[in-house]
Symmetry: C2
Subunit: 202 residues, 2 copies
C-alpha cells in the first residue's frame, strides 16, 4: 500500500467515525412532507422514482396529477398495468394553465384533484401520496393554501409521506415541510435547439 | 366569467403563444449527457425515474452502480425481476468510500464499473445508460477524468442518453454535458433527528 493510499484510508476512517456518530442520533421515523421545487429538471421524475421505491418495497401508494403532462402517459400506463394493486394513479388536471386558458375550469380541476388527494392521504393504508405539480395549483390560488397547510399539519396520518412537486413552492409550504429540495437549472438542452425527447422529458 | 378570470385567461393565452414560438425552434433530437449533482436529495432517484420512463416506453436501458447504496436492493430487485429483459442492472461498487477505507479496492471497483459502463454505452441497442454515483469515483480520481470525457465526446453513440449522478460533479464534466441539474438541499429531516426511512431514502 502506498503512502497516498494510507493517508486516504486514514481520512476515510475519520469520515466514517464522524458519520456513524451523527447517524446514531437519528432514531425517529415519521411520515414526511417532502417538496421538490425549483426551475430545474427532476422534480416530478424524482417523485416518480420514490413511488417506484415504494412499489419495490410493496408499500401501498398513490399519485394525483394536478396538471396533466407532468408525468407521461407511458409512466401512468406502466404503473396501472403492472402495479395497479399497489399504486393508484389519478390524473385530475387538464394540462398546464397556459394550455387551457380557462381559469374557471382550472380551478374546478384543481379542486377535484385536492379532494381526491385528501381521500387518499386520509387512508392510512397509503404509505406515500405524490401530489404532482400541486405547487402550480397553489401558486395560482386554484386551491386555498391555508386549507392545504391545515390539512397536512392536522389530518395527515403520522406515518404517511406526502410528496409535493412543482416550481415556485409557496414559502408557507416550505416552512411546514420536512425535506425540501430545490432543483436548480444549470444547463438545459432546449437552449441548444434540442426538443423534448422520449425517455428524458416524457 | 369574472374580470379576474378574463385577465388570467388573456395572460395565459400570451404565455402559451410565447411558449409555442420557443418550442417551434426546438426540432433536434440527440442523445444527451445528463448530470445530476448537488448536495440535495433526488439525484439518484430522478435518474432511477428516467430509467423507469425508458422502461415504460420499452426502450432498452442499463444501470451501473459505481457505489453500492445509491439505489436500494429493492429497486434493483424490482428491475431485475420484472424488467430484466429491458434493463440491465450492474452493481459494481463496494459501498461509499468512507465505508470501505481501502483506496486500492475502491479504485479497482471503480475501474471495473467504468469498463462495464463503456461496454453498455457502446452497444447502440441501449437508449439510456445510468452511471449512478460516478461523480464520487471521478472526484476521488478512482477513474481518470480525461478518459471519461474523451469517451463520452468521441465514442458515445449519437442517440444514446448517458445519465451521471453524484455530488461534486467535476467542472469539466458539466462543461461537456447537455442537461445539468443541481439538487440543492433546502431542508433535511436528519437535522430534526429523523433517520433514513424505507420508501424515502432506500
Amino acid at each position: 500500500m502506498t503512502d497516498d493510499s494510507d493517508r486516504h484510508n486514514s481520512k476515510m476512517a475519520k469520515k466514517k467515525a464522524a458519520r456513524d456518530k451523527i447517524m446514531a442520533t437519528k432514531t425517529d421515523e415519521k411520515g414526511l412532507i417532502i417538496v421538490h421545487t425549483g426551475k430545474g429538471k427532476g422534480k416530478s421524475t424524482a417523485g416518480f422514482g420514490m413511488i417506484f421505491r415504494c412499489i419495490a418495497h410493496q408499500m401501498p401508494c398513490a399519485v394525483v396529477q394536478f396538471i396533466k403532462g407532468g408525468m407521461s402517459t407511458g409512466e401512468r400506463d406502466l404503473i396501472e398495468s403492472r402495479f395497479g394493486d399497489i399504486c393508484q394513479f389519478h390524473t385530475m388536471g387538464e394540462g398546464f394553465t397556459w394550455e387551457t386558458q380557462d381559469r374557471d375550469r382550472d380551478v374546478a380541476a384543481a379542486r377535484a384533484a385536492w379532494e381526491k388527494a385528501k381521500t387518499l392521504i386520509r387512508d392510512p393504508a397509503n404509505r406515500m401520496v405524490l401530489l404532482d405539480e400541486i405547487n402550480i395549483a397553489l401558486r395560482y390560488d386554484y386551491i386555498p393554501l391555508e386549507e392545504v397547510l391545515s390539512f397536512l399539519t392536522t389530518e395527515k396520518p403520522e406515518m404517511t409521506h406526502v410528496v409535493m412537486t412543482g416550481r415556485n413552492a409557496r414559502d408557507e409550504l416550505i416552512e411546514i415541510a420536512d425535506l425540501v429540495t430545490e432543483m436548480e437549472l444549470v444547463k438545459h438542452p432546449f437552449r441548444a435547439g434540442i426538443k423534448a425527447q422520449i425517455g428524458v422529458e416524457f
